[in-house]
Symmetry: C2
Subunit: 122 residues, 2 copies
Amino acid sequence: MIIEIDFNSDEALYLQLRNQIIMGIATAQFQEGDSLPSVRQLADTIGINMHTVNKAYTVLKQEGYVKVDRRKGAVIAIDIDRMRTLAELKKELQVILAKGSCKNITKEEIHGLIEEIYEDYR
Amino acid sequence: MIIEIDFNSDEALYLQLRNQIIMGIATAQFQEGDSLPSVRQLADTIGINMHTVNKAYTVLKQEGYVKVDRRKGAVIAIDIDRMRTLAELKKELQVILAKGSCKNITKEEIHGLIEEIYEDYR
DNA sequence: ACTCTGTTATAATATAGGTATAACAGGAGA
DNA sequence: TCTCCTGTTATACCTATATTATAACAGAGT
């Protein structure tokens, strides 16, 4: 999988990494049971420090996307907690839909965006 | 309008403030032309520093939600840039929908959440 | 033995977030 | 004019976070 890091972004490197990996799982570029690259290897190919990658992996573990095996490294393993996830999603959506609403983006346009994005998930 | 700040949150105070104000505009608790409280006054009622409020207002200005008048303070004034807004929304939605997708939240459930949230915008 | 894994520890640096004081300039009202 | 309230700016300080840099350790595979 191609991971693109924007060094000019104001978003923390480890969060960019986390988000890209989550999107990689959603778009089936990573499958349940797949191993992520080792922290050292990924840090090397991206050109960042090992600890930054490790931090991203630790967050992914805490959020229930991977389990870390001493032998295989970080392995995709989704821990599903639907209630918690739905509550989190709603809270995040509230903020970004409010932004759209202020700027005259209609509900229908939002639904359209959702459809567009889900096109990529298969 | 009631502004609730969570001092235990890991989200920055000025960002919490910004988000609440944006949601306040979306839910019509603030109308175009309304003045926000002065930075000192709001800081006082919330119990935070003036500069933190000022930072929130500055961000709101840059993002096109208010204009600052030396007499009236920060006044709600939406600057609509649909293309820019749509692009931003899509990027943010991509991340949070990916989270949902990983956790087996269906597209229909997302559409449902959108409907729920829009119930409050009138 | 060697090499790979994640993990842990420690330190240094830079940036961001938040607070504290203080001062300035412009407009409103007495 | 004097006073008060506005946002704005500057400076300083403290803390937490983000990132890098080395280094070492323990477990597992070959």
